[in-house]
C-alpha cells in the first residue's frame, strides 16, 4: 500500500508515490492547497497519509461504504447547504469539502430547477418490500459444504439487482424493487468459481456474474421471465495480483479486482496498465473484459482488447483458455473475442493476463478553446490524421463547457478571480469568440518530460491552425475531474426533479458533426413532443479519436416536474436518440455494451448471420442457459 511505503527507500516505491499523486490529481482533493501541483513536474510527495490510501478493497457488504440507491461512496455527495450553496461532501475527491458557487445558478438556469422543489429519495431500504428469496435447497446445501461464503440477506441481494441506468436508480430512490437475485456468492478464487458453476449446472440454477455493478445497459437486471433461483456471483473477493512478469511486461490478475486497486497495486511496483475507464473507481477487470471496455488513455495504452494477453473463463462446458501467451496468434478466429463483449452470457472471467507499462515519468494537462464546435472537430480530426493524439483528448461542446464552468470551486483569492475575468475578456472580446458558441478541448499528455513538451507543442500548433487558443492546464484538469463527479451530480439532480444520463456511440469522422447536431436536436424535439415542460440539457463531447472515426458521448437531462411518468418519457427519448444515432451512421455502442437496454437493435447491427453465429456459440457453451442474464442476444 502506498501509505505504508511513505519514507520507503526503494526507487520503485518513490515512483509509486508519484503515480499515486497523479491519480489523486483527478480523483482526490488537492494536497495542502497547492492545486497547481499536477501542472508541474511530479515531485516525490512525502506528505501525510491520505484517507484514500487506506485499505480500500471492496468489502462483501458493499453497502457499508457505498450508497444503495445512488452512485459511489456514501460519504461523498453533492448537496445544497443552508446558505443555498452547492457543496461536495467527504474527503475523497479534489472537489470534496468545497463550495461550488456557480452550480445553483446553472441548475436553475439550465433546467428551471428550484431549491424549493425537492424530490427526496426513500432514505432507508425497507427489507419487507423485497420478495423473499427463491432458494434451491439442494444447491444451497452443496454450496455450504464447499465453504464458499454466500448470503441471502435482502440488502446484499438488492445491491446486486441493478446497474446504474436511470430507471434502475430512480426505482431504488422510490423504494421500488423488481426481481432481485435470490442469493449472492463470493468466490475467492478460480477454483471456487469452477465449483459454483458445476453446482449451478447440476441443479439448474441461474447465475449472473457481478463485478463492479457500474453497468449502464440493464445488464444486471434479473430477467422477469426467469423462474429458476437466481444466484449473483460477486467476483469482488477475487482481487489479487497473482504475478508480475517484468521481462514480458505482463501482469496476471484475478478478474474481480476494481480499477483503482489494480492501478494502485501496480503503481507500488512502478507499473500501470494505463486502462482508465471513467468508472475505474468501481468497475472490475472482469467487467471490462465482458463489455469490451475502453479507457480514457487508450491512445497510449489501447482499449481492453489491445491490453489483454490471456483470459481464463469458467463456462458450463468447462474452462476456456489459450495454451500460451504469444503476443499474436493465427489460429482461426480469436476465441478471446467470443469472451470479450459476452456480457456474462457465457461464463465468468476469473483470471486475466494483461500488458503493463512502466509508470510515466511526467504528466501534463492542457486545454484549448475553439471559436466553435466545428473547428474543434476539424482539429481533432487533424490530430488523428497525424496520429499524434495525446494520452487523452476530448472536445466538449458549448453547453458542456458551461457545465464545466459551473463546477468551478470557489476561488480563494481575488487575484485568481481577477485573472479569470481577464482571460474571459481576452477570449470573448479580444479574440471575438462568441461565449455561446465556443467550445473547449481538454488534453492529457503522458510520457517522459521532453517528449511530452515536444508533443504538447505539436498539438497546440495544430490547434492554432483551427483557431484554437491554449486555455491553461487548470481547465483541462477540471474537465477530467468532471467525469468522476458527474455520476454524483446526477444524484443531486434527482433530488431536485432533474433526471438524466449519458450514452455513447462511435462514428466515422465525416459524420461526427452531423451526428452531434442531429442527436442533440432530436433529444430537444422528442422532449417537447413528450410533454417535458422545461428545455432539456442536450450536450455532447467527442471523447476518443481513432484513425477512422471518433467516440461521441452524449449527456441528456431534463426537469421532470409536471410529468406523471418521467422514467417512461426519459426512456422514450433515449430510444429515439439511439435511433437517430443509428440513422446517422453511429454504432450501437462504443464501450457501454448492449445489455438488455439495446438488445432490440442487435440484429440490425450485426445481421442475421451474425446473430446466428453468436447464438450458436451460446448454444454450445451454455445449452441450459445457466448464465441466464439474457444480455446481448
Amino acid at each position: 500500500m502506498a501509505s505504508n511505503s511513505s519514507g520507503g527507500g526503494s526507487d520503485r516505491q518513490r515512483t509509486a508515490q508519484q503515480r499515486l499523486s497523479i491519480i489523486a490529481g483527478h480523483l482526490q482533493r488537492p494536497v495542502d492547497g497547492n492545486p497547481a501541483i499536477l501542472a508541474e513536474e511530479c515531485k516525490a510527495q512525502e506528505s501525510k497519509p491520505d484517507a484514500s490510501s487506506e485499505e480500500r478493497r471492496v468489502p462483501r457488504r458493499r453497502q457499508e461504504i457505498m450508497k444503495w440507491n445512488g452512485w459511489g461512496y456514501s460519504d461523498s455527495r453533492f448537496l445544497f447547504n443552508k446558505k443555498g450553496q452547492a457543496e461536495f461532501t467527504g474527503k475523497r475527491y479534489r472537489l470534496s469539502g468545497m463550495i461550488i458557487p456557480g452550480l445553483k445558478d446553472w441548475m436553475e438556469g439550465t433546467f428551471g430547477a428550484s431549491l424549493q422543489h425537492k424530490a427526496p429519495a426513500t432514505p432507508i431500504l425497507n427489507s419487507n418490500a423485497i420478495q423473499p428469496p427463491n432458494l434451491h435447497e439442494a444447491f444451497v446445501e452443496e454450496l455450504k459444504s464447499t465453504g464458499i461464503p454466500f448470503s441471502h440477506d435482502a440488502e446484499d441481494r438488492v445491491f446486486r439487482a441493478h446497474g446504474h441506468c436511470l430507471h434502475e436508480i430512480f426505482a431504488l430512490r422510490e423504494g421500488k424493487f423488481g426481481r432481485v437475485p435470490d442469493m449472492v456468492v463470493w468466490p475467492n478464487c478460480h477454483n471456487d468459481v469452477v465449483k459454483i458453476v458445476e453446482l449451478a449446472c447440476k441443479h439448474n440454477v441461474c447465475l449472473i456474474p457481478y463485478g463492479g455493478g457500474t453497468s449502464v445497459s440493464s445488464a444486471l437486471e434479473c430477467p422477469h421471465e426467469e423462474t429458476r433461483s437466481i444466484v449473483s456471483l460477486d467476483t469482488s473477493q477475487m482481487n489479487r495480483i497473482l504475478w508480475i512478469d517484468e521481462k514480458n511486461l505482463t501482469v496476471h490478475v484475478e478478474a474481480g479486482i476494481v480499477g483503482q486497486d489494480l492501478e494502485r497495486l501496480l503503481n507500488e511496483s512502478g507499473y500501470c496498465t494505463g486502462h482508465e475507464p471513467d468508472s475505474m473507481e468501481f468497475s472490475s477487470l472482469g467487467g471490462w473484459v465482458a463489455t469490451r471496455a475502453s479507457g480514457m488513455k487508450k491512445n497510449i495504452y489501447g482499449n481492453i482488447e489491445d491490453l489483454v494477453v490471456h483470459i481464463k473463463m469458467v463456462t458450463p462446458r468447462g474452462v476456456i483458455e489459450k495454451s500460451c501467451m504469444g503476443p499474436r496468434m493465427s489460429t482461426g478466429p480469436d476465441v478471446h473475442h467470443f469472451i470479450m463483449g459476452s456480457e456474462g452470457t457465457l461464463g465468468v472471467v476469473t483470471e486475466v493476463t494483461m500488458k503493463i507499462r512502466p509508470m510515466p515519468e511526467y504528466q501534463k494537462y492542457g486545454s484549448v478553446v475553439f471559436p466553435n464546435f466545428e473547428q474543434g472537430v476539424a482539429c481533432l480530426r487533424e490530430v488523428a490524421r497525424q496520429r499524434c493524439a495525446p494520452a487523452s483528448i476530448r472536445l466538449m461542446d458549448n453547453e458542456q463547457f458551461k457545465f464545466g464552468h459551473a463546477l468551478k470551486p470557489q476561488v480563494s483569492s481575488i487575484f485568481t478571480s481577477f485573472l479569470d475575468g481577464l482571460k474571459k475578456l481576452y477570449i470573448t472580446k479580444f479574440k471575438g469568440f462568441d461565449p455561446n458558441r465556443l467550445c473547449v478541448a481538454t488534453l492529457l499528455f503522458e510520457g517522459d518530460r521532453e517528449k511530452v513538451l515536444q508533443h504538447e507543442k505539436q498539438v497546440y500548433d495544430i490547434a492554432a491552425k483551427f483557431g484554437g487558443l491554449a486555455a491553461g492546464e487548470d481547465n483541462g484538469q477540471r474537465g477530467y475531474m468532471l467525469t468522476f463527479v458527474i455520476a454524483y451530480l446526477r444524484d443531486l439532480g434527482m433530488d431536485y426533479y432533474v433526471i438524466g444520463e449519458s450514452f455513447e456511440t462511435s462514428v466515422p469522422w465525416d459524420r461526427v458533426l452531423d451526428i452531434c447536431r442531429n442527436v442533440k436536436a432530436r433529444i430537444v424535439r422528442e422532449c417537447k413532443e413528450k410533454g417535458v415542460q422545461f428545455p432539456p440539457l442536450s450536450t455532447c463531447r467527442v471523447t476518443q479519436t481513432y484513425d477512422a472515426g471518433a467516440c461521441v458521448y452524449f449527456y441528456f437531462a431534463f426537469n421532470y416536474r409536471g410529468l406523471s411518468d418521467p422514467v417512461h418519457v426519459y426512456e422514450q427519448v433515449e430510444h429515439a436518440a439511439r435511433e437517430e444515432i443509428l440513422a446517422n451512421g453511429g454504432s450501437l455502442s462504443h464501450h457501454h455494451g448492449v445489455g438488455k437496454l439495446r438488445k432490440e437493435w442487435m440484429r440490425d447491427t450485426i445481421s442475421n448471420v451474425g446473430m446466428g453465429m453468436l447464438k450458436s456459440v451460446k448454444d454450445y457453451v451454455d445449452p441450459n442457459n445457466i448464465f441466464g442474464n439474457r444480455n446481448l442476444l
Binding site: 459524420r511 442531429n518 436536436a521 432530436r522 443509428l582 440513422a583
Partner: protein, 672 residues
C-alpha cells in the same frame, strides 16, 4: 351513420383555413418608393453559416461530391482534371443566381405599379407567413408554389420581400435565359437557371445538385422550385417531377441537416394572364419562344382587369416526419456520402408519394372563385345542347346549388357572403366577358358564331373558348374528382354491388391517373373518401354491400358524371384512333397531329361532342396511360424516334370498358 363515424376525421368541411390579407391595399395608400427602399432585415436560418454568393460558389466547386465526379469524368473521358474542373465552373457560372437587393428593390417598385393596375387585390394568408418565418428560422426551407403563370415566381419573391422574409433562390428553366436583359434581371432577383434536359450529363447533374444542396445545407436562402416542373396550361395540377425534390430531401436522408421543411404554396388567379395563350398552345399553336420583345407585346394585357390573386402558404411539412417509418436512413451508412448513388426503390417510392401529397396540399388550398363553378355549369349546359344559353336566373340557381355541393366536398370557395347570389354571378361573368356572352337574359359561351374561314377554323376558334373555359372548370376538378370517379363507376358498372362499384372505380382511377393527381396506392382511401362525401351530401346510401342512389342524388350524380365526361370520351376517341388509324410506323412525334386530325373529323361529323378532346394535354395523358397499362408499347427504332406499337385488342377492350360496354374484370383479363 356508421360510415360517418369511421371517416368523420377526414371531413373536409372541418379543414381549418386561415384568413387573407390584401397586400395591395397598403400599397395603394402609401409611397411605392419608400416601400421599395425600406429597411429589409429578414429572419434567417439559425445556423446560417454563409452569406455571400462567391463563398457559395467556392463551396460548391470544392465539395467532395463535385471533386469526386470531376475525377470520375476525367477518368472516363480522358480529359484533364483541370479542364473538367473548368467545365464545372462554367456550368456553375451559367447556372448560378446572383441575388442583389437593389434588383429586388427595383422589382418591388415596378411590380407594385404593375400589380396595382392588373389586379384588384393580392391576398395572402398572414398566418401562413408567420409559420413560414418560424420555419425559416428553424430549418432549411423549400418553397413549393403551384405553377399556373409566369407571374408565379416574381409574385412569390414580391410577397416575401413585402413580409420581410428571406428571399428565395428559384430554380428556373433555361428558356428564360433567352430573354437577355430580363434573364439577367431575374438572376439578380434570385433565379438560377437549369437546362430542361441533361439526362446523361453526370457533371451537369453533379454541379446542379451540389449547388442546390449547398444552399439548403448552409441555410443560404430558402430554395424555391415548381414541383409540377412547368406551368400547367390546363389549370389542373401536373404530375410532379421528382428530380429536384430528390435533391432537396437528400441532405436530410443523409443526416447532413436535422430536417428540411417543405412549404406548399397555392397561388390562385381569378383570371390567368396567359388564358387564351394556353388554349392555343394546347390546340397546336406552338408556344412562342420567350423573348423580351414578346413580353412587351404582351403589354396590352396591362389594360385589362385580372381580378384578384390568392396566395396561400400551406402548413409546413417536415421531411423528417414524412420519412418517419418509411425510409431506413441506415442504408447510407456503408458508402461515403459524397459518392453519388442512384436512389434505391424505397427512396424513389418515398419521394414519389411525398411529391403527390405535396401537390394535393397545393390543390386543397387553392382558392376557388364563383366563376369556376359558373364555368363548369356553362360548359355542361353547352354540351347538353341548350340552344340560346341558360337563363340568368336558372344559372344562378344552379350556381347556388353547386356552391353548397362544393363546400360539402371541402372546396376552398370564396363566395362573397353578403352579396345576393345574382350579383355574385353577374359580377363574375363580367370579369370574363371574353368567354361568355349574355343576351336577353340568357348566358352562353362566347363561341363566335359568325367567324370567317372554313368549318375547321371555326371549330378551332370555338375550341379556344371551350378550352379557356375548361381551364377554369379544371380548378375545381380536384374537389369533385373522387366523388365523380365514384359516380362514373356506379354508372358504368351498372350494378349496386359495392365490390363491383369498387372494381369499376379502381379501373377508372387507374385509367385516369396520368390525367389527375391521384396518390399512388391510395385507391381504397380515395374510394372511401368518395363514398363518405356522397353519403354526406345525401346522394348515396351505402347499406352493407350495396351502393344506392337516393332520390335527390340523381342531380349530384348527373353533374359529377358530366364533369368527367369530356375526359372519358376523349380517352375513348384516342383509343378509337389507335385501333382504327394507327399505322405500323406511328412515331411519338406524329401521334398528336394524327390524333388531332382524327378528332377534328369526328367533331365535324358530330360523332364527338367535346372540343376538349382537342387538348394535346389530354391526348398525351391518354397515351401515357395506355403506355403505362401496356396497351401501347414504345419501340426504340434505331436512329429514328421510337415508334408506337399498339395492342389493338387490348386498346379496344379498354375503350369498351371506359364506355361501360365491358365489365371491368374483362379489361383486366385483356391486359394479360
Amino acid at each position: 351513420m356508421a360510415q360517418e363515424a369511421v371517416y368523420s376525421h377526414r371531413d373536409p368541411m372541418l379543414k381549418k383555413r386561415d384568413d387573407f390579407e390584401d397586400i395591395l391595399e397598403e400599397r395603394r395608400n402609401s409611397s411605392d418608393l419608400r416601400y421599395a427602399l425600406r429597411c429589409y432585415t429578414p429572419v434567417v436560418y439559425k445556423e446560417l453559416t454563409l452569406c455571400k454568393s462567391g463563398e457559395l460558389r467556392d463551396l460548391v466547386l470544392q465539395s467532395d461530391h463535385l471533386r469526386y465526379v470531376i475525377t470520375q469524368v476525367s477518368k472516363e473521358t480522358g480529359a484533364d482534371a483541370d479542364e473538367v474542373q473548368g467545365e464545372a465552373s462554367a456550368i456553375l457560372e451559367e447556372m448560378a443566381h446572383c441575388l442583389q437587393l437593389s434588383t429586388v428593390r427595383f422589382f418591388a417598385f415596378t411590380l407594385t405599379k404593375i400589380f396595382k393596375t392588373l389586379f384588384r387585390s393580392i391576398c395572402v394568408n398572414e398566418e401562413g407567413i408567420q409559420r413560414l418565418q418560424q420555419a425559416i428560422h428553424e430549418h432549411p426551407v423549400v418553397l413549393l408554389p403551384s405553377h399556373r403563370s409566369y407571374m408565379d415566381f416574381l409574385l412569390m419573391s414580391y410577397i416575401l420581400y413585402t413580409y420581410d422574409l428571406a428571399l428565395p433562390v428559384i430554380a428556373a428553366g433555361m428558356d428564360f435565359m433567352g430573354m437577355k436583359f430580363v434573364g439577367e434581371m431575374l438572376r439578380m432577383s434570385g433565379a438560377f437557371f437549369i437546362r430542361r434536359s441533361f439526362g446523361g450529363d453526370k457533371l451537369y447533374w453533379a454541379v446542379f445538385s451540389e449547388y442546390v444542396r449547398t444552399m439548403l445545407k448552409t441555410g443560404f436562402a430558402p430554395v424555391e422550385f415548381f414541383l409540377e416542373g412547368t406551368r400547367s396550361r390546363t389549370a389542373k395540377s401536373l404530375t410532379p417531377k421528382l428530380g429536384l425534390l430528390n435533391i432537396v430531401m437528400d441532405p436530410f436522408l443523409k443526416g447532413e441537416v436535422f430536417d428540411v421543411t417543405l412549404v406548399p404554396v397555392s397561388i390562385s388567379y381569378e383570371r390567368i394572364l396567359e388564358e387564351s395563350l394556353y388554349a392555343r398552345e394546347l390546340l397546336g399553336v406552338p408556344k412562342p419562344k420567350e423573348s423580351t420583345s414578346g413580353l412587351f407585346k404582351a403589354r396590352k394585357v396591362l389594360s385589362e382587369d385580372y381580378g384578384s390573386i390568392h396566395v396561400y402558404f400551406g402548413q409546413p411539412v417536415s421531411v423528417r416526419s414524412l420519412a418517419e417509418g418509411r425510409v431506413n436512413r441506415c442504408q447510407f451508412n456503408l458508402t461515403p456520402r459524397h459518392i453519388p448513388q442512384r436512389p434505391g426503390e424505397e427512396i424513389n417510392h418515398f419521394v414519389n408519394d411525398s411529391a403527390f401529397r405535396l401537390v394535393r396540399a397545393q390543390e386543397e388550398n387553392m382558392v376557388l372563385k364563383p366563376w369556376v363553378l359558373l364555368a363548369s355549369l356553362l360548359l355542361q349546359n353547352h354540351h347538353h345542347g341548350q340552344k340560346g344559353g341558360t337563363a340568368l336566373e336558372e344559372l344562378t340557381e344552379q350556381a347556388v346549388w353547386l356552391r353548397d355541393l362544393s363546400r360539402q366536398c371541402g372546396a376552398f370557395l370564396h363566395w362573397p357572403e353578403h352579396a345576393p347570389p345574382s350579383e355574385v354571378v353577374s359580377s363574375s361573368l363580367s370579369l370574363h366577358q371574353g368567354l361568355v356572352s349574355i343576351s336577353e337574359g340568357r348566358v352562353q359561351l362566347a363561341l363566335e358564331q359568325g367567324g370567317q374561314g372554313g368549318p375547321e377554323e371555326k371549330l378551332l376558334n370555338q375550341a379556344v373558348v371551350v378550352l379557356s373555359c375548361a381551364s377554369y372548370r379544371n380548378q375545381a376538378l380536384h374537389v369533385f374528382l373522387r366523388p365523380a370517379l365514384l359516380a362514373l363507376a356506379i354508372v358504368t358498372s351498372s350494378s349496386n354491388n359495392r365490390q363491383e362499384v369498387y372494381n369499376s372505380f379502381s379501373f377508372l382511377r387507374n385509367m385516369f391517373s396520368n390525367e389527375f393527381i391521384l396518390c399512388p396506392g391510395a385507391t381504397v382511401q380515395d374510394f372511401e373518401e368518395a363514398c363518405y362525401l356522397l353519403v354526406k351530401t345525401g346522394a348515396l346510401q351505402i347499406p352493407q354491400q350495396e351502393v344506392l342512389i337516393t332520390e335527390r342524388g340523381h342531380r349530384t350524380l348527373a353533374f359529377l358524371t358530366s364533369i368527367l365526361d369530356p375526359f372519358l370520351q376523349g380517352y375513348q376517341v384516342v383509343c378509337r384512333f389507335l385501333c382504327e388509324e394507327a399505322t405500323e410506323a406511328l412515331t411519338d412525334k406524329q401521334f398528336v397531329p394524327a390524333v388531332r386530325k382524327f378528332i377534328i373529323k369526328h367533331l365535324l361529323t358530330g360523332t364527338l361532342r367535346y372540343a376538349e378532346a382537342l387538348s394535346s394535354d389530354l391526348q398525351k395523358n391518354s397515351l401515357a396511360a395506355l403506355l403505362r397499362l401496356g396497351a401501347v408499347r414504345r419501340v426504340k427504332g434505331g436512329a429514328e424516334q421510337g415508334t408506337l406499337k399498339v395492342n389493338k385488342v387490348m386498346v379496344n377492350s379498354l375503350e369498351d370498358t371506359l364506355g361501360g360496354k365491358l365489365p371491368t374484370q374483362k379489361a383486366a383479363a385483356a391486359r394479360l
